[in-house]
Symmetry: C2
Subunit: 159 residues, 2 copies
């Protein structure tokens, strides 16, 4: 961190040191996530899904009948941002917005048959891609990491 005088340092740097950043977990989380997301995007390409549309579809298939506001909360995104995602899934006939008789403001989101089929295929493809990505990691290491990530995630709602 402490250097005597920048002017006395030769103006050519051979290899860039990330010494200070290395102790900074957020930096590694961002970079590793970028790699995982790029891999994921490749896996989802055949299904024309992105990470966000994939997550939405999976949650609708697992929780048929949920409301848009519930889905937004589960995905940790704002309601306005969910609208275009639901629009896209509905336009592709993967889900339906069904009117809820007991509350005429709300929509119940349900998957279509095509939606459930595409979802099953996409889930299988994502699992395969993650297995390949994490293939030579120590057994249990990924599970430990996910457990820690979930604890960090829980910290967000605390404060």
């Amino acid at each position: 961190m402490a250097r005597p005088d920048p002017k006395s340092v030769p103006p050519v740097v051979e290899s860039v040191s990330d010494e200070t950043l290395r102790s900074f977990a957020g930096y590694h989380m961002k970079r590793a996530f970028n790699v995982v997301q790029a891999d994921l995007l490749r896996a989802l390409k055949p299904f024309n899904l992105r990470m966000i549309t994939y997550s939405a579809l999976v949650l609708i298939v697992d929780n048929p009948g949920l409301r848009q506001s519930q889905l937004a909360a589960a995905m940790d995104i704002e309601r306005p941002n969910l609208v275009v995602i639901v629009d896209e899934l509905e336009r592709r006939d993967l889900i339906l917005r069904e009117k809820v008789p007991t509350d005429r403001r709300a929509y119940a989101l349900v998957p279509t048959l095509a939606g459930r089929q595409l979802c099953a295929q996409a889930v299988a493809a994502v699992r395969k891609h993650e297995e390949r990505l994490f293939a030579d990691m120590a057994p249990g290491a990924v599970e430990d990491m996910v457990a820690l990530l979930r604890r960090i995630q829980a910290r967000g709602s605390e404060e």
Copy 2:
């Protein structure tokens, strides 16, 4: 994943299950990263820095004289996107763009005294915030996670 018929399911969901997504590491990486980044932003607020300007400043302080293209490569961002970041740090007199006599196309990025001082304070603040964020995690767990994240990161350059 498999449900008999969406029409037969009551259209009210009490609590949203993320069962299928739970085995999907990228999902947890994204959500945990959001928490860490929000925490980081709070830590950097007094210094008027964001994660990206903080990373750039730290790398320039640790590697005085590096070129913009080297910095972009180290930060894993495209050269055009670095320009505004360097502009901002230079406008705030935290760094200088020095002409390189041996290559008149390039600039050597060097920190100013103010830049090095702000950087030292910001690094201390970030360390403190991460220590607090990870305070009651098992000893070594964060280090193990970072080690795994670095291995995942390395996967990105492989393929």
